[in-house]
């Protein structure tokens, strides 16, 4: 377990009486992009949301099993969810900037976590986060305009900047490009490739081309079970499981 960042073991998830995930075990390495693929409703987003305990928001959702982040158990009553989430950033399917200025959107995280002591420091963090998200040059003259006035792709990069402003170690991306056009998608994919140098990234995607382009590891989910996991190259060229084969060749899903 040299550089294992996230280690899941036998994760079951129930929505009320309906079981959504069946004994998922997974090992996610540091500073890699892991893609979760599979047909709709197969539980890949549910699994993603277990990692930062976002499923807590759903009253009827029950999670059991074990997920360790940096060797610390997070599926537990005692877990400090707030500090866990500041360590694990999340980017959502639909860009969801706050109805605040571009600057305030990015400054939100550092401010609530007390990461900065002065205005200059805050400005520095905001600028560097926007730069890392590849958005700074486009918005540097209008940081006081509302974040909702940006285009869809820019909004999504703003959300990425907002996530990395609190200096997380892991970034979860839940279909980050599904609401974007191909050009904006390409920009985000390039960005993911750069972010990989500093962050561990897990991305849920419906696009198999996208999984193939951005990820090093791929996990295939089907009906709440993890069917196959491995090097992206291998999954897409020579999968072990026939279901995986059928899915990536477009025979179902």
């Amino acid at each position: 377990m040299s550089n294992s960042k996230i280690l899941a073991n036998g994760v079951d998830v129930y929505y009320g009486s309906k079981q959504a995930l069946f004994g998922i075990s997974m090992d996610i390495k540091e500073k890699e992009v892991t893609a979760l693929i599979g047909p709709s409703g197969c539980g890949k987003s549910t699994f993603l949301r277990c990692i930062n305990r976002m499923n807590d928001l759903i009253e009827i959702c029950k999670v059991s099993g074990s997920i360790k982040v940096d060797n610390e158990e997070i599926i537990s009553e005692k877990t400090d969810v707030v500090s866990l989430r500041s360590k694990i950033g999340m980017v959502f399917q639909k860009p969801n900037p706050f109805p605040k200025s571009i600057f305030d959107n990015v400054a939100y995280g550092p401010t609530i976590h007390g990461l900065v002591d002065s205005k200059n420091e805050l400005e520095e963090i905001v600028h560097s986060s926007l730069k890392k998200a590849g958005l700074f040059d486009e918005v540097k003259d209008r940081l006081n305009e509302p974040g909702t006035s940006l285009s869809g792709g820019q909004q999504q990069r703003l959300c990425i900047a907002r996530a990395i402003a609190v200096n997380p170690e892991i970034i979860l991306m839940d279909e980050p490009c599904s609401a974007l056009d191909p050009i904006a998608t390409a920009i985000i994919e390039e960005l993911i490739d750069e972010l990989r140098l500093n962050y561990t990234i897990i991305i849920v995607t419906h696009s198999m081309q996208q999984a193939a382009r951005v990820s090093q590891k791929t996990c295939f989910f089907h009906l709440g079970e993890l069917i196959e996991t491995g090097e992206t190259n291998k999954i897409f060229t020579n999968p072990d499981n026939t279901k995986t084969q059928d899915y990536i060749t477009g025979r179902f899903g």
């Binding site: 928001l57 950033g89 959502f92 639909k94 969801n96 109805p99 939100y108 609530i112 907002r162 609190v166």
Partner: protein, 457 residues
């Protein structure tokens, strides 16, 4: 009389429906073609042509009959030379004799004659009323039955008629509003003809007692509405001080913290608060809260009167809590879940998320809820009548008696007052100002709520 005519109309529309249905079936069978619409539409078509003309006759009779008969009776009345008649009293007397409400003995012969005339006119009117309703229904049905051919699109016509009916219904509310506004304006103009508008709006003395008869030794009345509006404002401020924090915090609890089960129980319970008649709040304020306020005032060394702005305002505040909490709860709930997730996903806790993301996003809607609650508080009457008194005091001290616009309207209108008296007319002027204020509050509130809605849809 009018009851039996309703029965007559009911029988008419029932038989016209049956007639229309069987007639179209017969006609299409005769021609051997299928009718363009279902038989029921033809039946409804006949029914409408039977019903609406009859209703028009019915209502015009109900409105004009009495007036016309009275005019005829009065114009034929044998006036005695030299005697002075009050037309209203004379008519009342004639009617009473005609309806056997007062004995004919001892009445003058002219009145008895006129009463007989009145009765006979009523009889004629009644007979012609029934005849014309029957005739008009038959004519309507006859006209409609000529159209009952299979190639006639009854459904299209029915839909057009239904549209007219809907337009008529919605215009009733609009015209009523316009009528009320105009009557307010005209009566207010009569008031302002006697009292200067500047005195009304800016003078601080409200003493609406003016001599009714010549030579009566009453003080000159004065109509300065400032203390009344100040009182209204004071009670409203007290009410909002109670309702705004309680309502808003309730809404936050319900929307963000309460489990589905608690929400399902608490929200309807709160809405019951809104259903309690305001007079019940009024005597609650008077019996329980006002003495408490008085005792409290004394304990901190303030001389409180037995009824006070504070007592009325506090209870009114409780009354409008459900307005604020229910509307704000809806507004907070409609803040998209994605914003909550975004904030929590960064590692904000619940309180930070609510304070920094949800409330700012919901603010316009919450302000709208507050404004609606304020206009409700301004328009409230019964609580203030009972718990704040009727004395027009210009004061900022909530332990004192105050009065509000609505209360003064009530005071001005009770008792035997002629409608040409400035005291009575002042009610309309007060009502007009109140109407303008609440209208503006509502417009602002609706604008804010609208802008808020556009943002998230």
């Amino acid at each position: 009389m009018f009851f039996w005519s309703l029965v007559l109309i009911a029988v008419g529309i029932f038989s016209s429906f049956i007639y229309g249905r069987s007639r179209i079936k017969l006609n299409s069978k005769k021609q051997g073609t299928k009718s363009k619409s279902l038989p029921n539409y033809y039946a409804q078509y006949v029914l409408m042509w039977c019903l609406f003309p009859a209703l028009i006759v019915y209502f015009s009779w109900a409105i004009f009959q009495e007036q016309i008969i009275q005019n005829i009776v009065i114009s034929n009345f044998e006036y005695i030379e030299g005697a002075v008649y009050n037309e209203g009293l004379l008519l009342a007397e004639i009617r009473n004799v005609a309806n056997n409400l007062s004995f004919a003995d001892g009445k003058s012969i002219e009145i008895i004659n006129a009463a007989a005339h009145y009765s006979s006119l009523r009889q004629i009117s009644q007979i012609s009323f029934y005849t014309s309703i029957i005739i008009i229904m038959l004519l309507g049905a006859l006209y409609a039955s000529q159209k009952l051919k299979p190639e006639f699109h009854a459904q299209h016509t029915i839909e057009k008629y239904i549209q007219y009916i809907l337009i008529f219904c919605s215009s009733v509310a609009i015209f009523t509003t316009i009528g009320i506004v105009f009557s307010l304006i005209f009566e207010s103009l009569r008031f302002f003809a006697e009292v200067s508008i500047f005195e009304f709006l800016f003078s601080t003395e409200w003493y609406p007692f003016i001599p009714i008869r010549e030579g009566q030794t009453a003080a000159e009345g004065s109509f300065g509405a400032v203390p009344i509006f100040a009182g209204t404002f004071l009670v409203m401020v007290v009410a909002m001080c109670v309702a705004a924090p309680l309502g808003l915090l309730t809404a936050i609890y319900l929307a963000e913290y309460a489990s589905q089960r608690v929400r399902k129980i608490v929200k309807p319970l709160l809405e019951i608060l809104a259903g309690i008649p305001t007079i019940v709040y009024g005597f609650f304020a008077f019996v329980s809260v006002a003495p408490f306020v008085k005792a409290f005032g004394q304990s901190i060394g303030i001389d409180a009167s037995p009824t006070s702005a504070l007592a009325a305002g506090m209870v009114m505040g409780v009354m409008i809590i459900p307005f604020i909490s229910s509307l704000s709860d809806d507004v907070i709930n409609s803040v998209p879940q994605s914003l909550r997730e975004a904030s929590l996903g960064i590692g904000a806790n619940k309180a930070e998320t609510i304070k920094k993301v949800i409330l700012p996003a919901a603010l316009p809607g919450i302000v709208g809820a507050f404004l609606l609650a304020i206009s409700r508080a301004i328009g409230e009457t019964m609580i203030v009548v009972v718990a704040a008194g009727t004395a027009p005091n210009l004061t900022g001290n909530p332990f004192e008696n105050v009065t509000t616009v609505t209360v003064q309207i009530v005071v001005a209108l009770i008792g035997d007052q002629e409608f040409d008296n400035p005291r009575t007319l002042s009610a309309f002027a007060l009502g007009l100002v109140l109407f303008v204020i609440t209208l503006f509050l509502n417009i602002i509130a609706l604008q804010i709520v609208k802008r808020y809605r556009e943002r998230y849809e």
